[in-house]
Subunit: 570 residues, 2 copies
């Protein structure tokens, strides 16, 4: 089979205007950025306001393994399959971060015959949204440090006399707002800023990767430009020495941040290899944030398409849970069906025994042992009242006997259906059976329910999330976390969702616990407030918000060839 980039280059794409027209956008409702991408204007959202919604399908997966389950391939492949069945379809996916593209081999455009194209356009700058988030985020950091500088150099009274502004009295030990860059840059994780006499005061700081910015979550969760503007104002940057929260609004920087983010509010339209429309928008993490594309993109797509397919990060304990309890809670639009992606390899690697044999080799007992992880995720999705279609993403050397066993096993479970997907090797054709079953699932009666009542106190919500959402035996809060939770509740943030940041590599908080872990306790070290995005992140274990470049980073292979094409992207 050809490589991803070869397949992508071979394919003749349609002018993006045709894709926009096919999706149902009017000529003045999108701005083409060259031939392969367009910004969809928010005027379309206003025109379509009273149209009926299409069906919303969320793609999730079993607990991730290092082998790659192919969730994005399935999302794009399913979109192609639905399109091939004559359904008006659109997928809504996140924008890939550039950091990992230069660090780890692998873009985020799907693969094989299920790709968004051109992959180098998707994987690099696209229409600049991530750059805009970096810029808005770092303006707030610069503004905060500048205010600190002037107040400290002049003293409160002289500062007010000269500037006409109230002093903020920023506590350098309580600056929550770090800086961001869209690269894997380990050496910026922990830095000291403001060194050198006229540049201070000195204080500890650091950079995270842009995708982890609260502004990225805000971009994804805002329902309109006005909503975004209000949310940006609510972002908490620091605390004063008197313990008062310093928001972006209070610092006077929220308007400028929103101005920088304005263009980024418009989703980007691209196409799959088969010419199905794809909206790309926002790219929040699925641990410290909700890990799904934007409410605005979904909203536009749902008004225009019969079926909208979107992807939630990591396994169903992570992205799917957050999709439901954070995004659906804010958007009001619940999913009509879920697709749960698995592979033979993934299940074998989740076998609870200590079998270390090659996961690509047939081994029925191991597969059977690993099935528990899939079953857990089927049950997990089902408890939200969403019909689950399991899809087995087929790999070249998969054993037909094992595939047949798994199909039958899933079909006997709570799942609405199970299909094998050959989207990778066959594109749309390989996803038609899946598409058919998904359409049938979407016709099921709706029984969506949240995991918890948002009116409950924060501690109760967290406990429900741990016990009912993950099957934990309970929660354990550090002294700091206990104090923080009480403070957040008292400060009026009790109505927010809980976003549990834990390892994605296990249903539990411990990445070494494969399959379905025995009773475990979720230990929360600290909470962080995302007042603009509308959730409180509970940190159960270290979440890496700034990756590092490895020993042989992917950038070594990336270059421009003598035709001026980019080469070396996976």
């Amino acid at each position: 089979m050809l490589s991803d980039i070869e397949i992508s280059r071979q394919c003749e794409l349609q002018p993006i205007e045709n894709i926009a027209t096919k999706l149902g956008l009017m000529k003045d409702e999108f701005d083409s950025f060259g031939e392969t991408k367009a910004k969809v204007k928010l005027s379309s959202q206003r025109r379509l306001k009273n149209h009926a919604d299409g069906k919303l399908v969320i793609v999730t997966a079993v607990t991730p393994t290092p082998y790659g389950e192919g969730k994005t391939v399935t999302t794009i492949g399913l979109t192609q399959g639905l399109d091939a069945l004559g359904k008006k379809t659109c997928c809504c996916i996140r924008q890939p971060s550039m950091g990992p593209i230069f660090g780890v081999k692998g873009g985020a455009a799907g693969g094989g015959y299920a790709q968004v194209a051109p992959m180098e356009v998707l994987n690099l700058h696209l229409t600049g949204d991530i750059h805009a988030i970096s810029s808005a985020h770092n303006l707030a950091a610069a503004a905060l440090d500048a205010r600190l500088h002037h107040e400290s150099r002049l003293g409160a009274q002289a500062f007010t006399n000269q500037s006409g502004l109230e002093p903020l009295n920023i506590n350098t030990d309580r600056i929550f707002w770090r800086r961001v860059v869209d690269h894997n840059d380990r050496s910026l994780r922990q830095i000291e800023v403001g060194l050198g006499q006229p540049n201070g005061p000195e204080h500890a700081s650091g950079f995270d990767i842009t995708a982890s910015s609260e502004l990225m979550a805000i971009l994804a969760l805002s329902r309109s430009v006005e909503d975004m503007r209000v949310r940006v104002g609510r972002v908490v940057l620091a605390e004063s020495r008197d313990g008062e929260l310093i928001t972006a609004e209070k610092l006077g920087v929220a308007g400028a941040m929103a101005a920088i983010m304005l263009d980024a509010m418009a989703p980007t339209l691209m196409q799959t290899l088969s010419g199905a429309p794809c909206l790309i928008h926002a790219g929040p993490f699925a641990n410290i944030a909700h890990g799904n594309s934007s409410i605005i993109a979904d909203d536009i797509a749902l008004k225009l398409a019969d079926v909208v397919v979107t992807e939630a990060g990591f396994g169903s304990d992570m992205g799917f849970e957050k999709f439901c309890n954070i995004k659906v809670h804010q958007s009001g639009k619940s999913p009509d069906a879920a697709v749960l992606v698995t592979t033979l390899k993934a299940l074998k690697s989740h076998a609870s025994d200590q079998d270390n044999s090659d996961v690509t080799e047939p081994k029925q007992t191991r597969l059977e042992a690993g099935f528990a992880n899939l079953e857990w995720h089927i049950n997990n999705v089902s408890q939200y009242g969403v019909p689950v279609v399991v899809t087995i993403n087929r790999f070249e050397h998969d054993c037909p006997k094992e595939l047949a066993w798994l199909l039958q096993k899933v079909r006997a479970s709570k799942a609405f259906g199970c299909e094998i997907s050959d989207a990778f090797s066959q594109g749309a054709e390989g996803a038609k059976a899946l598409a058919d079953t998904v359409l049938a699932a979407c016709e099921q009666p709706q029984h969506f329910k949240f995991l918890y009542d948002h009116g409950l106190p924060l501690r109760e919500k967290l406990l429900t999330l741990a016990e009912v959402g993950l099957g934990a035996a309970g929660i354990e809060l550090s002294a700091m976390a206990t104090q923080q939770l009480e403070k957040l509740q008292a400060e009026g943030f009790g109505h927010l969702s809980i976003c549990l940041a834990k390892t994605p590599m296990s249903i539990s908080h411990d990445p070494t616990l494969k399959g379905v872990p025995n009773p475990f306790v979720i230990a929360v070290e600290k909470f962080t407030l995302n007042a603009g995005a509308g959730f409180i992140t509970a940190h159960a274990g270290k979440v890496m918000t700034m990756p590092g470049l490895g020993l042989k980073p992917a950038y070594l292979n990336i270059d421009i060839d003598n035709q001026g094409n980019i080469v070396g992207l996976a």
Copy 2:
């Protein structure tokens, strides 16, 4: 008179396709990015290769004052004037940096009736070129620190065994490559990175504003994508412990950096308020770099237009000198005429006496005393063999008698001509007289010459630049500078141009010396190598490469109104 933004909003712009067609681009030679901007493809450059060049006009100025001389207004106004005379005209200007836009009130789109529009499009992200430069620059920094990290944690032998790469043995005291961000962020000027056990080694670092990146100068000076790729490879990032230069090529990151910069190689097309075409490309500083727009933009514009107008940063001792001795040296295209911008206010503020009266009030003696500065710049431009047209940028309350005196005085000087410009208040109409005189100047016989022979040793070039270029009594090198110069000469960089980084606020190195300073000596503290851009920067005094936000920064006024428009940009 209306404000800049009101004038800009009132004006009905043409679809950018019309502007592209008017300029002579074929339909497949540009990519529209919405209705108001387009990327001009480099395929146009290849098609036009054998076309004859139009005339090239460079706009420069007297020594800058805090009052603003209106060089960009003149550049855009002159373009409008030439266009109104029926000449096929295009201006080529630099992309404004976002940092100062949020710091100091004032965009960089011109003003009054001489603007590039829409100003909020020009002043914010445009087509993402500056973001691309930031990203490529910071990838190199991340890559360098990651290499340092892995070599240091494993040791040279194990590093090579595990990675298959030769160790670079980076000297943390000799890392030249800092990081960049397009904001005014004082607290990032001097930082310590790599703190915390697994993130090291620790070392000193810092951020500059993106416009000051060598990659920005490379973007401006490259003649093609291939040329850019080679130059990026030559960039020197650090030294090894054995004193060897570590380039981006040696680190293996040059290809990826070039890939990130690829789209940015295409200039952006916009229009003036009167519908004249304007190419916006690159934005290098005019102290540590050459301060002019790109060779590629000029090249495309010169093939398509009869007259191309471009702007050099600061006074003629700075941007114009560098335009000639760096850019023209690399492009091979010398200017046909120069426009030297002055104002009554500027000259009065350059009066050598200690007169502190209001510069807006008529005061003939003060004007006469300040004339020396203008005369110096006329002579300076003339020594390059370029005909000079002086333009007096008229302000509302300018005294007609003083204007008349100045006109007559300049017309009796070495200048080819002198005109008053009313481009600010009248647009094209107010710049027609200037346009006429500029066209006549362009018909003069060509006698362009460089200030120095590039084959001379670096020290000789610097001496000529100081003595002949600035009228200095000589140069003085610090011990470090002397050593560096010998090393650079020995390492084979002797053929590069000299880029003198000094204050723009005086012809000398001392910002307090107004008018035409008495004999002064240029003291050079250090040199920095820009092996990719092709020049060596001689630092005469501190150049601020990272501005800070002031007491009442411009961001306080910037916001989105309830129609979704950006407000508060000056």
